[in-house]
């Protein structure tokens, strides 16, 4: 029994986000692509790294700050990224392993100065420190913080996307419902507040969640080596 | 091979063997030919009857019981005929006849092909 591609049984579909297979490898190089790649990696991993060093390695906030900055500097200078082999481990696991090794060897490294290398590192360590105060200790801080950072970046991307596309109502409804601190407002309340039908509230929420998923996937694809790793990390990111 | 034929062959062979064991009774050695003939015929008759039963009823227990019963009956009919000197060998003929009858009944149940209708009803 033969099937036509993209016909009755499958239909046309939006393809999986294009993964930049060599992005992580390109981060080890120089130039615009390398800078872009490093920015992606730093944006996702600086906070998980900091919290991991603070909570799992029990270092003070100053020590942790130095270690994290030193680690990412070493990442660039010592070509650590060039040693990544996707067939052996996921990038997240590799990075965490390198971080742990770096912390263990901290006493051997005399120089912990922050040095350049082409990547910008705007890290709000004070904010991260405040977050730690409210975070119960977890078995795998790195993993949890990675999940949190992926979604936090996704939310930022969603906000920017909605602003650029004039979808402020959609974003507002999404933020008030799905990001609510305490009790969530009812659909009827949101409908009355924004002057839209209740069915629109349902549709806007569905749309925003779809877009958030898409944007988080896009971020994920920028820090994984290829589709197999991306799919595996997807399960970790969204799964139970 | 159908079941009555299996019964016929098994009965004949077992009857022949049973008859041959009479050689260990010196008093009847002179009658060996007749004993062998009679024992084989007895075995064949019991075998055919067991085969006919096996065509209709597929049950090892029924085969054993029927074979034993008919084996005993025909062995009795043979044992009723006295030897030239007037001796009857009821025990020597009926007991082995009973056991061999059961064996014949068992073999007709296990071997041979049943008719199509019985096979279908079993299926």
């Amino acid at each position: 029994m033969a099937y036509e591609s993209d016909t009755a049984i499958g239909g046309a579909h939006r393809p999986f986000p294009t993964t930049r297979h060599s992005l992580i490898q390109s981060a080890a190089g120089t130039g615009t692509l390398a800078r872009e790649a490093l920015d992606s990696i730093l944006a996702v991993y600086w906070k998980p790294a900091y919290k991991h060093v603070r909570i799992q390695w029990r270092r003070s906030n100053e020590e942790a700050k130095d270690l994290v900055q030193g680690f990412f500097a070493a990442l660039i200078e010592q070509q650590i990224l060039a040693g990544f082999d996707p067939s052996k481990a996921r990038f997240r696991t590799y990075l965490k392993g390198c971080l742990d090794q770096f912390v263990m060897k901290q006493d051997e490294h005399a120089n912990r100065l922050k040095r350049g290398g082409g990547a910008s590192m705007v890290c709000d360590f004070e904010a991260a420190e405040r977050e730690i105060a409210g975070t119960p200790s977890v078995e795998d801080v790195f993993l949890r913080e990675w999940q949190r950072q992926m979604f936090a970046l996704g939310l930022e991307d969603l906000r920017a996307f909605c602003e650029a596309g004039g979808k402020t109502v959609q974003h507002a409804i999404f933020a008030q419902y799905d990001l609510a601190d305490g009790d969530r407002p009812s659909y009827a309340e949101l409908s009355a507040l924004h002057g839209v039908p209740v069915t629109s509230v349902t549709n806007y929420l569905a749309w925003a969640r779809r877009e958030l998923r898409r944007l988080v996937l896009l971020r994920l694809s920028s820090v994984t080596s290829g589709d197999p790793e991306c799919q595996a990390e997807l399960r970790v990111l969204f799964g139970k | 091979m159908n079941k009555p034929v299996v019964g016929l062959i098994a009965g004949a062979v077992l009857g022949l063997i049973d008859g041959a064991t009479a050689w260990f009774t010196p008093a009847v050695r002179s009658e060996m030919e007749g004993i062998l003939m009679g024992s084989s015929v007895k075995g064949m008759v019991v075998g055919i009857i067991c085969g006919l039963i096996a065509r209709k009823v597929h049950s090892t227990a029924v085969g054993l019981a029927a074979g034993a019963a008919f084996g005993l009956l025909f062995a009795y009919l043979v044992a009723m005929m006295p030897e030239p000197d007037g001796t009857h060998y009821y025990v020597q003929i009926m007991v082995p006849g009973f056991v061999l009858g059961a064996l014949t009944g068992f073999l007709t149940q296990r071997l041979g092909t049943a008719p199509a209708s019985v096979r279908e009803s079993k299926a």
Partner: protein, 293 residues
């Protein structure tokens, strides 16, 4: 960027993961399980008014592969595919029969008798053999991917990493404990013996103590490291298990003389008893002949 608390994070992970079927004929109910490449949900088909299972794939280009493979495998032991489609977020799903039953590993906790377990195993082999006959290997056979229905029916599920015979395996396919060595060799084409390896491991899981030596030998042969040492096909494996169930000699094990004699006795008890009785009677009559005169 404001801090995302745990509660909000978990909520977002949930709501972005749950697929949106509002534009389809299906009403999502509960999550049933997670397998290779996707999540399975129970759902209500509003058109045909029946419950179905919906498998939503993670993503990807081989999105139709599992559905296409399954649609070609029409067998009582393989859940039929009813429908397939694409969600607004690009994820692909397919609808299939909802199997009411238990996973094999759960079922085995309540089914102690070895013969019943082995008969179940024969049914598993039937389904797998059918797939092999159609040129498809499962590549992820394990107790968690076998369902036992309430009437003892067996279903082999989760064909997410199934491949055509001679295709290279997916890099992340399979479960280590049940994965044939050749499945983790990059670029090495697979054949049906990869599934036979897994079936050997499953057979080992089914065995109860004391483990009969012929059965252990069958399991060992099936899951030999070298494919050349395994059964050539699933039918041979199933036939050997069948022979074991019937009390016959099996291909994978050479009986010792006492074992052969014991088997002969078991298979011919009535016959041997009758012959023994006849001999005993004859001997008795011979020695009692003077008394009987």
């Amino acid at each position: 960027m404001s801090f995302l608390p745990d509660r909000a994070l978990d909520h977002l992970r949930d709501v972005t993961e749950v697929p949106d079927f509002s534009d389809t004929r299906y009403q999502l109910e509960e999550e049933i399980g997670r397998g290779g490449m996707g999540v399975v949900y129970g759902a209500w088909d509003t058109q045909l008014e029946r419950r179905v299972a919906l498998k939503v794939m993670d993503a990807g280009y081989v999105i139709n592969q599992e559905a296409k493979l399954l649609a070609q495998l029409e067998h009582p032991g393989i859940a039929p595919v009813y429908d397939a489609g694409t969600l607004p977020d690009g994820r692909v799903y397919y609808a299939m029969r909802l199997i009411q039953g238990r996973r094999l590993d759960e079922f085995l906790r309540h089914e102690p008798a070895l013969p019943a377990r082995l008969r179940l195993f024969e049914k598993i082999c039937e389904a797998v053999a059918f797939a092999h006959n159609r040129g498809v290997i499962h590549c992820d056979l394990k107790p968690q991917n076998i369902m036992v229905g309430e009437f003892g029916e067996v279903f082999v599920v989760d064909w997410g990493v199934a491949r055509a015979v001679d295709a290279a395996p997916l890099p992340t396919a399979g479960t280590p404990q049940y994965m044939a060595p050749e499945q983790s060799s990059p670029g090495r084409p697979l054949d049906a013996r990869a599934d036979i390896f897994a079936l050997g491991r499953i057979l080992r899981d089914l065995m109860t103590n004391p483990i009969p030596r012929p059965l252990a030998a069958i399991a060992r042969k099936a899951s030999a490291e070298d494919p050349a040492d395994r059964f050539a096909d699933v039918q041979q494996l199933a036939a050997d298990v069948g022979r074991f169930l019937d009390g016959l000699a099996v291909m994978a094990y050479r009986d010792t003389v006492p074992e052969r004699l014991a088997r002969f006795w078991r298979q011919n008890q009535v016959l041997l008893l009758l012959l023994g009785t006849y001999l005993a009677v004859k001997l008795l009559l011979y020695f009692l002949a003077p008394a009987l005169k």
